[in-house]
């Protein structure tokens, strides 16, 4: 479980987060949604400890992450895997070297064990055989999957994903969403995804929070999204003119909401 209490974050005069409280449950796919500039990435980086909050606390189970010493922070980080928005794959290393890097650095595994684990995670993300390619030689969707493979190679308890669908076509986005969701269930990981993709929200959002201008505007799950009366969530969902037209069409056909389509 990850719990945030009264998170404030300020950069100079700009207040990005204005007192955010929530709880993310263990073993579930938790989503942070909101428009660009709502503070999602900053919140995610506070949760993983890349930014310290100006005020407030982050708890990993019963451990106050914001008050830990260096050793304590490292102990938590060993349980964390992260997929970055831009993948953050080391471009001078091959795919295999990228995935091996955390094992080389932190485990006493033999070379054979590492090789087996690399092949195992690459197979899990359906990328067998790309071991010797460089990140620049594979597509954006494949890079995301390599990012996921690297994030889970040390069997983390928490998986953080920053905009996993950014820059991907809808079909590849769905594949990535399903992959993350499946891995979450199989490995019993607590996953936190930062996204503004409504497909992700409706497909894998077991626990969702909506950020609006640095404040928590709504929390719930995917079943509660479409029936919401929350104005901010409604505005976020129906920001797309296409969806608006779809709803109007539904209403014209005697159906009162998108849920009834």
């Amino acid at each position: 479980m990850i719990r945030a209490e009264g998170i404030f974050k300020q950069f100079g005069d700009q207040e990005v987060l204005k007192g955010v409280d929530f709880t993310f449950e263990s073993g579930k796919t938790n989503l942070i949604i909101g428009r660009s500039g709502a503070g999602k990435t900053v919140l995610l980086k506070i949760l993983v400890g890349l930014f310290p909050p100006t005020q407030g606390r982050v708890w990993f189970n019963d451990i106050d992450y914001t008050n830990l010493d260096k050793k304590g922070i490292l102990a938590i980080r060993k349980k964390v895997g992260m997929l970055f928005q831009g993948n953050a794959l080391f471009d001078s290393m091959t795919i295999e070297e990228n995935i091996r890097f955390p094992m080389d650095m932190f485990t006493p595994m033999t070379s054979l064990e590492k090789q087996m684990r690399v092949d195992e995670v690459l197979e899990r993300v359906s990328l067998s055989g790309v071991n010797l390619k460089y990140p620049s030689e594979i597509s954006g969707g494949m890079q995301k999957r390599v990012g996921i493979a690297r994030a889970i190679v040390l069997k983390p308890k928490y998986l953080f994903c920053d905009e996993p669908n950014s820059g991907l076509d809808p079909k590849t986005s769905i594949t990535i969403d399903e992959l993350i969701s499946d891995i979450t269930n199989e490995e019993d990981i607590t996953t936190i995804i930062n996204t503004h993709d409504m497909n992700s929200v409706m497909e894998i959002g077991e626990n969702i929070i909506l950020l609006e201008a640095g404040r928590l505007a709504w929390k719930g799950n995917k079943e509660q999204v479409l029936g919401t009366v929350n104005k901010e969530l409604d505005a976020f969902i129906f920001a797309s003119p296409f969806l608006k037209k779809l709803v109007e069409a539904a209403k014209n056909n005697g159906k009162n909401s998108l849920e009834n389509l």
Binding site: R77, G86, A88
Partner: protein, 248 residues
């Protein structure tokens, strides 16, 4: 502006504690150390050789021009070239060139890693990036730069020979006599002290500029330029203070 320099100085001093923290995995650090030694040493060798040979050659021709027709014996030119290369030209010019070559590359490499979130990714894995990315570079430079400087000094002296003896400015025997005259071994110590100090300056300043870069490609370019300019200024200052301290 002054406050920014002071703030950067404070940040730099505090950062050293992180840079020299115990490595998570000695083997990986060693691998990185060897890679850095190769990059700095072999990577910079051609430019160092080229500059050194011309430094020696120009020094000889310049001094021959100034001493021609005077009562100073020609072998003095060999002596002057040797001491100039050892005491001043080899360590200082080599390190100024390395600041432009190696320093700007390091700033750009680390700054690029910061911008592409590679450093964040390593931090999340639990790695002390200040130490892993900087310490091997510092140690590698402290070992390799003095070797490059020694090579530069020797090649500079050879350059002086090539520019003078075949051109009949004076004889080989006179040049060699000059090289062997009035030799003070302490000058070599001074050269090594200078080269280690300059190596530490150019690596730490360049890595600092890259590690704390903010913004996009324009800021990365600016950080790379600052790495070279600040390294050069600090190398010149350090050169003066080392000379004052070691020649008292």
């Amino acid at each position: 502006m002054k406050l920014r320099y002071l703030s950067d100085l404070g940040k730099f001093v505090l950062w050293q504690k992180e840079v020299f923290r115990k490595p998570e995995n000695w083997g990986m650090y060693y691998k990185e150390l060897i890679r850095q030694m190769y990059d700095i040493g072999i990577g910079s060798l051609p430019i160092v050789l080229l500059i050194a040979v011309f430094l020696g050659a120009v020094t000889v021709v310049q001094f021959y021009y100034q001493m021609e027709g005077t009562l100073i014996p020609p072998y003095y030119i060999g002596y002057i070239v040797r001491d100039m290369m050892i005491i001043e030209l080899a360590p200082m010019v080599t390190c100024l060139v390395l600041a432009g070559n190696v320093g700007s590359t390091m700033a750009a490499e680390i700054g690029g890693m910061r911008q592409k979130e590679h450093i964040d990714a390593m931090e999340i894995m639990g790695l002390n990036t200040s130490s892993y990315l900087i310490m091997p570079k510092l140690i590698a430079a402290a070992y390799v730069v003095p070797l490059l400087v020694c090579v530069a000094a020797i090649v500079g002296i050879i350059g002086g020979y090539l520019a003078s003896v075949p051109a009949d400015l004076f004889t080989q025997a006179e040049y060699v006599q000059g090289l062997r005259a009035f030799f003070i071994p302490f000058n070599v110590v001074m050269m090594l002290v200078k080269s280690v100090t300059f190596a530490i300056i150019l690596v730490s300043v360049s890595c600092f500029q890259g590690y704390f870069v903010k913004g996009g490609s324009i800021e990365l370019g600016a950080a790379s330029t600052r790495a070279v300019v600040y390294s050069d200024i600090l190398i010149l200052l350090a050169d003066y203070f080392i000379v004052v301290l070691l020649t008292q």
